[in-house]
Subunit: 137 residues, 2 copies
DNA sequence: TTATTCGTGCAACTAAGTTGCATCATCCTA
DNA sequence: TAGGATGATGCAACTTAGTTGCACGAATAA
């Protein structure tokens, strides 16, 4: 397990308590997190800072943005193969009907989408609804 | 082409000017429409009426809800095979990067998603980003 | 024609996402 | 190491989307 500050150093990101708390919250929770949820969880920091650091982290390739099955904007930690502005975010997401959390599913489960002739498809987001590993039993 | 009031009559839906204007706006435009857009287009009607009729139409199986590639809630006319609370909404949607409109794609282009063993997938929404028929040239 | 149900309009509100600006911290360089 | 430049934060305010309560008016059925 890599230390949070190490990641920051490696990418030349200034290490602040807000940023550390933000990343730790992500590593603690194995699902995607919405801004309002982060706002509540990190009350000691201003909403704006949290909000702006989310955007910043996304630019840096540390987190990626996604919309869950209810259209709610969430952020999730990127696996180590995400470069700046080059998210390998071609995995699907699952929103659990029971616990309402949204999880990243393994890339191998994600089908390739063929582009119909009439249009051009540049990227695809697949969002599933169902039951997560914890709730399915 | 079926008359709007005929559809209403067939389903036992009371025909009002707000509802007629709403459905005509959908038939005139071949893409999915957001509530704010409808609000502007149907200024002669109150936002609340438009909003509530959208929900009502969805319950009746006339329109279906979708989130576009930017997480924006939109509504689109159902093909005739949608029954109340039983949308056959298993086609994918394409948000055009140029004109920003969202179109329903034909069902045959939509892949079947296999459920990973660890989780249960009940439904899937596929949203593509790219260029629509009009903008691709 | 009257009671009931349904649809509309108005107002107000919550929640999400966003921006401007002043302040404070950090870094770099002379 | 002083001082300027840049970066991060906190506060306030605001826009937009989505939603609810309530009273009034229209349509329907007995």
């Amino acid at each position: 397990m890599i230390n949070t500050t190490e990641i920051f150093e490696k990418q030349g990101i200034r290490s602040t308590t807000c940023r550390i708390d933000l990343v730790s919250y992500f590593t603690k929770n194995k699902f995607a997190i919405s801004f309002p949820q982060l706002e509540k969880a990190l009350k000691k920091h201003d909403r704006t800072s949290v909000y702006r650091n989310l955007i910043f982290f996304e630019e840096q390739g540390l987190v990626h943005k996604l919309y869950d099955a209810d259209g709610i904007l969430k952020y999730a930690l990127c696996k180590d193969n995400c470069a700046e502005h080059l998210h390998h975010d071609n995995h699907m997401h699952l929103t659990c009907n029971k616990c309402k959390h949204t999880y990243c599913l393994n890339e191998k489960h994600t089908p390739k989408i063929k582009s119909p002739k009439k249009v051009v498809i540049e990227s695809v987001a697949i969002t599933a609804r169902g039951l997560c590993e914890n709730c399915k039993n």
